[in-house]
Symmetry: C2
Subunit: 120 residues, 2 copies
DNA sequence: CGCAGGCATGTAGACATTCTACGCTAAAGG
DNA sequence: CCTTTAGCGTAGAATGTCTACATGCCTGCG
C-alpha cells in the first residue's frame, strides 16, 4: 500500500474504482453523487470516493460503452445525471470481479503461504 | 481493475508491491532478482514483477529506512545486492498488512453486501 | 575459444489513476 | 437572506506501475 500521505483516510486501491462503480450500478440506476454515498455506506464508511476521481471515472466508463447516462430529477427535485449499466457493462463487471478475486488470492498466497514452495 | 492493456498478464494492484516485497524479506534476506521469483512462485505464477517496478521500489523502500542492503555473492557466484528488513521495515509490513485486509474487507462489503444498508 | 543464455542490476519515459483544490448552480431550512 | 447540502465538473500534481533498453558476469556447449 502507498505511504498514505493523507493522514487518516484510506486511499482507494488504484484500479478498483471502476469495479466499485459498476457494482453499485448493478443494484439499479444511480447518479454520481449517490454512487459515492452507496460505496461509502457499503464499505462501512471506509471508502471515500472523491469527486475528482468519481466524475472522470464515470465519463471514462461511459466512453467505454459500459454505462449510459440520462438527466433526470431526483426525488428531492434536483437535476442529476443518472447512470445505468449496459450489457457490455455487466460483462465488464463480471470480468473485473473475477480478476479481483484472482488478485486477492494471489496476494494472499504471498502473505500467507500455505506451505513451502520449491525455491532455492 | 484497470483495463488491462497488456493482453494476458495481470498487472499488480497499484500500491501492493511494497507490501509484497517487505513480506518476502520477512522469510529472510534476499536479492532483488530473487524477490521477484519468490513473489511469482508464491502467487502461483500470477504476479510477475517487472524489473522496472522492482528495482525502483527497492530503492524507495531502502530510502525510507525499511530495508538495508549489502553486496554479496550468490551461491552461483554472482554478485548481488541482498536486502533485509529493518525493525522499522517490520513495523511497516505489519501496518501495510493491516491496511490491506481492511481494504479487502471494505471492497468485499461493496461486492457482496451482507444486508441492505440504510440508504435512500 | 567464443558465444549463447541465464543471472543480476539499473534507468528513462510513457501512462493511468487517484488525489487536492478549485468553480459553478440550485434547493431547503432556519 | 444566507448557510448548508446536493449535484456536476475541470485542472494539475503526485504516485506507481509498465515497456524498453542498457550493462556486466558466469556457466555450459559446440
Amino acid at each position: 500500500m502507498p505511504a498514505n500521505r493523507y493522514q487518516n483516510r484510506i486511499e482507494l486501491l488504484q484500479g478498483t474504482l471502476d469495479m466499485l462503480i459498476l457494482q453499485t450500478l448493478q443494484w439499479g440506476p444511480q447518479h454520481g453523487y449517490g454512487i459515492g454515498n452507496v460505496i461509502r455506506a457499503h464499505s462501512g464508511d471506509l471508502l471515500h470516493v472523491e469527486t475528482g476521481s468519481l466524475y472522470p471515472a464515470l465519463h471514462r466508463l461511459e466512453k467505454q460503452g459500459w454505462l449510459k447516462s440520462e438527466w433526470r430529477l431526483t426525488d428531492t427535485n434536483q437535476r442529476a445525471k443518472y447512470y445505468r449499466l449496459t450489457p457490455a457493462g455487466k460483462r465488464q463487471l463480471a470480468s473485473e470481479r473475477s480478476r479481483w478475486s484472482q488478485m486477492v488470492e494471489a496476494i494472499t498466497g504471498v502473505l500467507n503461504p500455505a506451505s513451502e514452495v520449491g525455491w532455492s
